[in-house]
């Protein structure tokens, strides 16, 4: 599946606000909200590089693709 079809998703309940994804996002897509929870602030800038997913210690941000179709 090509990168473009991947969708950036977050799971704010698991986010602990460490800021790692924000820091390492190359296109400055992400932000933390008042409660220190992750927010996809500028979704259109996302280049689907997966660096946020790679280093998020809490599995709270990830790129979802078709292979996860079976997930309900």
């Amino acid at each position: 599946m090509s990168r473009e079809n991947l969708v950036l998703k977050v799971k704010p309940e698991w986010c602990k606000g460490c800021n790692i994804c924000v820091h390492f996002c190359p296109t400055n897509v992400l932000e933390l909200d008042e409660d220190n929870k992750i927010v996809i602030a500028r979704p259109d800038d996302c280049i689907k590089c997966g660096l946020c997913e790679l280093r998020c210690p809490d599995f709270a941000i990830y790129l979802e693709g078709d292979e996860n179709e079976d997930e309900k």
């Binding site: 790692i20 210690p57 599995f59």
Partner: protein, 272 residues
């Protein structure tokens, strides 16, 4: 949900207990990715740990999982592996768990070259008990039991394991997460004792006391400090200062313990 998380973690146990910014989650992520890459059978994997923050990882992983006593993971794992050599046995351990109280089991597992893969979550501190120094804490670093700076010299766990006889020994960091995944994948394929030392930041008990800045700063530090062993070896001595090697330290083939034991059993059967 992240497909690996969905497939390999016990989702009802998440969010995990690790602090904000703790690197342990990143390591656990790479372990399950490596397992997935290799297509290992979930029902045939056993993950064993001792006690510590890192040692809580098995609780989140959807395999047969065993949270043992502090430092003893490898001894329990040795029993499991020898009794059931068909299982893939993985030990996850903290730097204290693996190299302080568990140091002897570590070097003996290396010596026997028993087919176990050990991932050391090395945050150079005792996280769970609140920040005492560990055998990997750098000299002069502060810790709750080294209030004036540690006077102990640190172990290099990856090198120690190599010297003690492990088939495979490597090191990476949570900054180099993709590389870490690759090394774990390699380690899991070794027939013999393999160890991957994964450097992981502990903001709560190590970073704060040692003024290491944000967790992102700590990750950037890893980027700066850790360089591939081959590149490192090419550096002139003065440039090595402040750098630490990462990559594969050893990858050799030796007789594996449980296989040798099986040969013994077969030999005795033949004798009858």
């Amino acid at each position: 949900m992240n497909k690996y998380v969905k497939k390999y973690l016990r989702n009802d146990k998440l969010a995990h207990m690790w602090c904000p910014g703790c690197g342990h989650g990143i390591i656990m992520h790479q372990i399950i990715k490596a397992i997935d890459n290799l297509g290992l059978d979930k029902d045939n994997i056993c993950v064993v740990s001792g006690i510590g923050c890192s040692s809580r990882a098995p609780g989140y992983m959807d395999f047969d999982t065993l949270h043992t006593t502090h430092g003893r993971a490898l001894a329990f794992a040795t029993g499991i592996k020898l009794a059931n050599p068909d299982m893939k046995v993985i030990v996850v351990s903290g730097d204290g768990d693996a190299s302080a109280i568990g140091g002897n089991h570590l070097i003996h597992a290396c010596r026997r070259n028993i087919d176990i893969t050990t991932i050391v979550f090395n945050n150079t501190i005792y996280g769970m008990t609140g920040g005492q120094f560990s055998p990997t804490t750098a000299t002069n670093d502060l810790a709750s039991t080294a209030p004036y700076g540690s006077i102990d010299r640190p172990f290099d766990i990856a090198k120690l394991a190599a010297a003690a006889g492990a088939s495979y020994s490597a090191r990476s960091t949570v900054y180099h997460a993709n590389n870490l995944e690759k090394l774990i994948e390699e380690a899991l394929q070794v027939k013999g004792f393999s160890l991957v030392e994964a450097m992981s930041m502990c903001p709560t008990s190590y970073g704060k006391r040692n003024k290491k800045g944000t967790v992102s700063d700590m990750l950037e530090d890893y980027k700066e400090t850790y360089i591939n062993i081959n590149a490192f070896n090419k550096l002139p001595p003065e440039k090595r200062e402040g750098k630490i090697e990462m990559g594969v330290f050893k990858n050799e083939t030796y007789p594996e313990y449980t296989a040798e034991y099986q040969k013994l059993i077969d030999r005795l059967k033949g004798d009858k």
